[in-house]
Amino acid sequence: MRASKDAQAAYRRLVQRHAPRVPLLRNTVLAFVVGGSLCAVGQIFMNVFERHGLSPERAGAMTAVVIVLLGALLTGLGVYDEIVRLGGMGGSLPISGFANAMVAPAMEYRREGWILGVGARIFSIAGPVITYGLLAAMVIGAVYVALGLPPPR
């Protein structure tokens, strides 16, 4: 039985009236703390790498490697999903969140084998980021070519 358009609209209003409040302030503060902490850890690694003689560029790349590793490790230990449950985007947005988005499907679909499981489905979460990242890069590249601009350094 499909409700009429009027009944649907009335029900939508009822649902909105009873909707539990999303704890926006709590979520925002936790996102700030969790995301900030992850970045602080990254900064510590970066400083250590620089002190040991790496150029800032190299130190930045190495920091990304370490944070990705950390994200993957914490996903494997079953901790990272708890971090994001608390921190929301504060946990998802740093590069450790990207590692989580790769490792979680790899773990989940391992049971279907290396080819049709891990191989085919490892990008099931991160895939859109890569697809549209590539698309955006192509569009911006085309704009640069069309305007005759020098490539950014």
């Binding site: 409700a3 029900y11 921190g87 979680a104 989940e108 049971r111 979460i125």
Partner: protein, 354 residues
Amino acid sequence: MAMTAAVVESAENRRRCGRTFVLRDAWIAGAASVAGPTEGRGPLGGRFDRIETGHLLGQASWEMAEAELARRAFMRLCGKLALEPGDFDLLLGGDLLNQTVASSFAARSLDVPLCGLYAACATFAEGLGLAATLCDAGFCRRVAVAVSSHHDAAERQYRFPTELGIQRPPTAQWTATGSVAVAVTSGAAGGGPVRLAAFTPGRVVDFAVQDPYHMGAAMAPAAADTLATLLEDLRQSPETLGPVYTGDLARAGVPLCEALLAKRGVRLSLRDCGIELYDPARQDVHAGGSGAACSALVTAARILPDLVAGAVERTCLCATGALHSPTTYQQGESIPGIAHAVLLERSGKGGGQA
């Protein structure tokens, strides 16, 4: 019993009133429950027959773990009633997994005919109603109803890989891990301490809710429709039903169902299995529990024991299901709801242990 008589009278000796099947010879002889670790730590933890300590049960996948849950619940039921699997004429099995594999794989090691059922989280009440109908009609003397759900198997199928970090909104629900098997019998097989008095199969009701994180809103109209139908068909007033349990509307869905019922002139204060299964102060399950095992676990741990002990004379269980798949909602379809209701009564006689 006076109340039993009222139902039969209102039936005017017909077996079906409106959409409701009026049952005379269908009983619950016993139930066995197997709960997951999270459910075992909830407020009903002490009342389950078995609590698993892990999520995999020694199996290679979540899916096989769920099948093992169902098998253990069924074997536990056999043990409690001192029966062999072959003593059941039929097994009605249902779960949430694609192609209902948990039930099928559980039954591949059991010597009993299987009919698979699917009504999402309303499968348990659908199974009870159909089993009671088969017994009452004389096709079967003893039918087992077994349902299961597994949190991780459901997450993976309906949402995301289990280790992916997600922040869920407060309307989201937590799929329960567990399985329950119930023995439904006719008087010829000894009856039981609880009588299945009526079964109202539900219609699919769609109020165009599209949010997969608000199943309570998607299912509440179906629950209101089925409960109002049951009351109308049996010409009963809400007070005569005893405690009325909805399956898994949870905290966000119960007020919606009560508001819809009030609009139809039915004043009913609902209890909800999704709310009773967990302790919100200690367990972060958002709006409450869900899953085919949710209403079944609460039925086995609270509803049936309350009836057997005489704490209540009558209870209505209205299990609720959301009939979407990940494919349909990604394609922009709304989430249709369904609710099946059974009316349970204390029979006052022994025979078995519910």
